[in-house]
């Protein structure tokens, strides 16, 4: 009897030894004369348990983790003799961290073989596109709008409205562009879904294509993600072979083709107009808006440009209906958000859940606090341009508007946890430094402001005229916020000002006791 095992091929699992474990399993099994079949899946997103090894049983998959090469012999013995093992976590689906989630977008991630189109279809893949083809453009637009889906890249613009604008535009050519330039530290959801369920992204983009009348799409993936590039390219080849890309998709009259383009290490290219410039082969300089990409986008043509997660949400909405998606969430934030728990955190990983969960639940309860075991002092939400939140704001619900009301943003859903050893002056300086290095240079507040920001924060760190320089930084942030062309210069003030506001004690030295004694 052959044992079927599942080991992730996700970059996050490879980084902690998944390949070594898979190889050791193969070798140890051969030595014992046990027949094993190892399926390389994406990751379930429970990264503190990676490398996770799952075994197929009549009762479903049983998980073991984190498995090292050294654990492999005893693990195989336990499997062969059906005896307990120290690393046994029980049924994968029953692991509380996974069970608590609402996996709509990531339902298949970590379950299927991302190289297999058959596996994708066997798990409900392409049901959304099939329905979309029977619905036609207008009905699809109604569904996408009714789902309440907002751009998951960070800006939160209603996807239905964007698509409708492009659908109504008249042009000889239109484009679909997927923004996979996931540069925010603390985020990895795009990477995970591209590596673990690439056909989902293709299905979402294809649906966008038939809806707005575009026949060509590009996926712009950052060069830091070579595994995602490989996975998407392999999936595109498979989809073409089976008639899901190319001419007459699913025997319809629609045609759609896809191409992967690789970035070159510029953070700014995650900004949509900069990304379009880069795709056109130019420096990633931000364009002034208007005109919007929906009217005047790639090569000057009407373009739908969405984040990976926005496209990845589409197949569920079409397969299950807009209401099934919109039933989750709170306020104007409908559906689910794949939240990424990162940094100094005990249970780091991807947690997809309906909007409305509080920051405190995410960090303390789900994330389990820090892995160093020290108290959580600050969390940065939404990447390098997101605000630092103190514990006092842990009641903030995960929702676009609730975060905005507290001078923050949810961005792409990344949460980076810091313990009490963090020096917020350093973090504020880093935010300015990062902006200075990554600024495209087109507008002055971002290009010059960030450099002056670094200098001024350095003066504060050195204790030079602290209160004057603090006022100067605040003023500078104001200029950057309102005077910058895009979110890089415009949002860099978020981490800086939040650090100043919520962690003032790091910037202003406590009065010396010597003075008090006089």
């Amino acid at each position: 009897m052959s044992i079927r095992l599942y080991v992730s091929r996700d970059a996050g699992a490879l980084a902690v030894g998944a390949d070594e474990v898979a190889l050791a399993l193969e070798q140890a099994a051969a030595k014992r004369g046990i027949a094993v079949e190892i399926v390389r899946t994406g990751s379930r997103g429970l990264y503190w348990l990676e490398p996770l090894v799952e075994v197929a049983t009549p009762q479903g998959r049983i998980a073991f983790g984190p498995v090292t090469k050294a654990d492999v012999p005893s693990l195989l013995d336990a499997l062969a003799s059906n005896t307990p093992h120290l690393l046994r976590l029980g049924a994968t689906d029953e692991i509380p961290w996974l069970k608590r989630q609402t996996r709509l977008t990531f339902a298949r991630c970590g379950v299927i073989d991302p190289r297999s189109l058959d596996d994708y279809r066997a798990h409900g893949g392409y049901k959304g596109l099939e329905r979309a083809l029977s619905l036609g453009s207008e009905a699809i637009l109604n569904d996408v709008t009714a789902s309440g889906l907002r751009g998951r890249g960070g800006a939160g613009f209603p996807t239905g409205i964007k698509w409708k604008t492009v659908a109504q535009a008249k042009a000889d050519r239109k484009f679909i562009v997927c923004n996979a330039d996931e540069g925010d530290s603390g985020t990895f959801a795009d990477r995970m879904i591209m590596e673990g369920d690439p056909f989902l992204v293709i299905e979402g983009m294809t649906t966008a294509g038939i809806t707005v009348g575009a026949t060509k799409g590009y996926i712009y993936i950052r060069s830091e993600y070579p595994h995602a590039v490989e996975a998407m390219n392999a999936a595109i080849v498979a989809a073409k072979r089976d008639g899901y890309l190319g001419a007459n998709i699913g025997s319809s009259t629609h045609s759609f083709d896809l191409e992967v383009r690789v970035g070159a290490g510029a953070y700014i290219c995650g900004e949509e107009t900069s990304l379009l410039e880069s795709l056109e082969g130019r420096r990633g300089l931000v364009r002034a808006k208007p005109p919007l990409p929906a009217h005047h986008g790639l090569f000057g043509k009407p373009t739908v440009i969405n984040n990976v997660l926005s496209f990845a949400a589409i197949p569920f909405i079409l397969a299950e209906g807009a209401k099934a998606y919109a039933d989750f969430g709170m306020g104007r934030s409908r559906g689910t958000m794949p939240i990424q728990l990162a940094g100094n955190i005990r249970h780091g990983g991807l947690f997809e859940t309906a909007f409305g969960v509080t920051l405190g639940e995410l960090v303390d309860d789900i994330g389990g606090g820090t892995f160093t075991g020290r108290p959580v002092r600050a969390v940065q939400v939404g990447g390098p341009l997101g605000a630092y939140f103190p514990r006092a704001l842990f009641d903030t619900p995960f929702d676009y508007e609730a975060f905005a009301a507290r001078d923050g943003l949810i961005g792409h859903g990344g949460i980076v946890v810091f313990d009490d050893s963090v020096d917020m002056r350093k973090q504020a300086r880093f935010a300015m430094e990062f902006c200075a290095v990554e600024s495209c240079g087109k507008c002055t507040p971002c290009r010059i402001g960030s450099t002056r920001g670094v200098e001024t924060i350095e003066k504060i760190i050195n204790g030079e005229r602290v209160s004057e320089n603090l006022a100067l930084v605040e003023d500078l942030c104001n200029t950057m916020k309102f005077g910058s062309l895009c979110a890089l210069g415009g949002f860099t003030p978020y981490p800086v000002l939040s650090a100043l506001k919520h962690f003032r004690e790091d910037f202003v030295p406590a009065p010396t006791t010597l003075q008090a004694a006089e």
């Binding site: 970059a11 490879l14 530290s185 690789v262 070159a264 420096r283 892995f371 390098p384 990344g414």
Partner: protein, 158 residues
Amino acid sequence: MTTVYEPWDETRGAEIIAEHSRQEGATLVILHALQEAFGYVPEAAIPMVAQALNLSRAEVHGVFTFYHDFRHKPAGRHVLKLCRAEACQAAGGDALAARAEATLGVSLGSTTADDRVTLEPIYCLGLCATAPSAMLDGRLFGRLDEKRIDALVAEAKR
């Protein structure tokens, strides 16, 4: 595992450029392909790209210098990239980067005198839940600590 690159050769360069020049917006695609073949983008290739794409030399030079990835000269035999973004900072990445710099005797962004190791910062490998992380010649490493970073540096120096 060292990547072996071809020495710069004009005919080979022209071939690579011709292979991609018909794509729309081909500049980055071509620069990537050149770097993949030669390990860097040779100065001599810039005017060739410009001519093939009917662009000015300044335009291509502008693109080449805008993006962090493109190299002006070959890297060391091994390239060790340390993630320096916030999630890795939160997990103790600063100290590990300083340790790697001290062991190799170079600062981030430079190559050892014997051309063996290029040490570079990278802003996010997307391994933020298994931070701190690094990439050595394309292989990924997470949950780094002093012992693991020392082993990586030692491997790179070999």
